[in-house]
Amino acid sequence: MPSIALLTAYAIEAIKQGSAAVGLVSKTHVVLAALKRNAEELGSYQKKIIKVDDHMGVALAGLAPDARILSNYLRQQAMSSKMVFNRPLSLSKAVHSIADKAQENTQSAGGRPYGVGLLVAGYDDSGAHLYEFLPSGSVLEYVGAAIGARSQAAKTFMERKLEDFPDASKEQLIEYALTALRDTLAQDKELNSANTTVAVVGVDQDFTVYDDDDVEPWLNLLDSLANTRNTALKEEDDDEDDDDNDGDKAASAEGQTATAPAAGAGDSSDSGTQPSAESESMDVDP
């Protein structure tokens, strides 16, 4: 039997099989954006963003059922905070409550670690927050975060635009988030109202999820819905691409090497030959 520590490492791999989710914070708002997959053309798209309370919600990458268990737990915590203190659950308390649950599974046998990564977004007494939760029980606060397949591309974009986020308006922040998400697309894919989901929360703004027709206005903010980075990469040959590539491979070494022997800019097949963590096949463009 593999050791518990090894299982945790495998659990983190499960996240990389899931489609990407990104999150961004300004002084006043947090935005989540995620790429949905459908198992088959006639099937529905897998939900990627789950509302927890009026002031918080999560985006997931990895095993969706595990995410439901965790978000359900968060909902209970949030309700109990409302019931006992009439106080919205603080983001830091929320994420650490699931972090402590996850840590248990990494230290004792008899259970498996959660196979899902979460981006937890919310607005509380101390402002706007974005946390990344991992099955290892690690929880870190970010100003911009991305998890899931090819998320390194989104991180690269965000690192470059870092200074613009704090003072961005809600609309600008959503645009940045969608651009970051677009960077994670495989070469023949596009963002569209069926596969894109956006959520926003902030000052005087309850956690709101935009899907389908509702997400259309946000997509219109973008000049292109395809991954411009893919084409750009081929033309440019400066250091930046190399960094991206390295990052991609380094970050998801195990996930990618099996299927993609160093194919270009980490835009190789979306682990198509591996069983998808969200029990779906590859993205199918309508």
Binding site: V84, N86, S90, S92, D125
Partner: protein
Amino acid sequence: MNHDPFHWGRPSADTYGEYNYNIAHASNADRSTSTNSEFPRMHTQQPMITGTSVIAIKYNDGIVMAADHMGSFGSLMKLDDLQRIIPVGKSAAVGISGDISDFQYLERLLDDLEIEDSYDMESDNLKADYLSEYLTRVMYNRRSKMNPLWNAIIVAGFDGKGELVLKHVDLLGVSYSSPTLATGFGNHLAIPLLRKKVDSEEDVKKLSKEDAIQTVKDCMKVLFYRDARSWNKYSLCVIEKSTQSIEIEKDVAVEGMRWDFAQHITGYGIPQL
């Protein structure tokens, strides 16, 4: 509400058999009938050592609250140095009347809450509105178990936005807010005096801090005159919104008392000279 079970009416003797009067007593040790299983489970039926009124009034920039330092065992003065207004966190003060052992239990509950809050080393999250909600839940849960904490509580302080909070919570888990609040005898003796100054939120704007303190001091004097379970040493809590400060002064004495009229009182059992 009247807490004496004899006032609650009783099941008809025809239907339910003779009423067992032992039920209304706190102890079932001296009951004349049967075994434990036939006897209802009993919890606190009356407070033991008690603290009397807590009073509070809002003024244009805060709240003034007071409670005396006595713990009574029936009509015996058991304790004379009991501080019943306690600070909780940086944004609240809580004044508690009623059973003193239950008060001490609440004190520990609030202290645990304070420690848990200190785990977050960067911010103070224990706001007065959260505290009053918490205390309401505690009181309501206990009364729902037919085992109430025999207290009436006044919570005063600030919410997350720095606005004033003034709330009353009692042993039934009922909570309400008003610009003037009192517990116990204070409801009968102090509230009319306080309402003379502040009858509505509108009047709050017209009352200065000095006047508010004076009004509360006058009320404490009237309470000491007329409430036989009160004492002339009390804590005075002054909350100021503009500075977000909460100050609790101990051992404030009732001033300017006149007892010379007492020699003319007759008819209270002891022959007067």
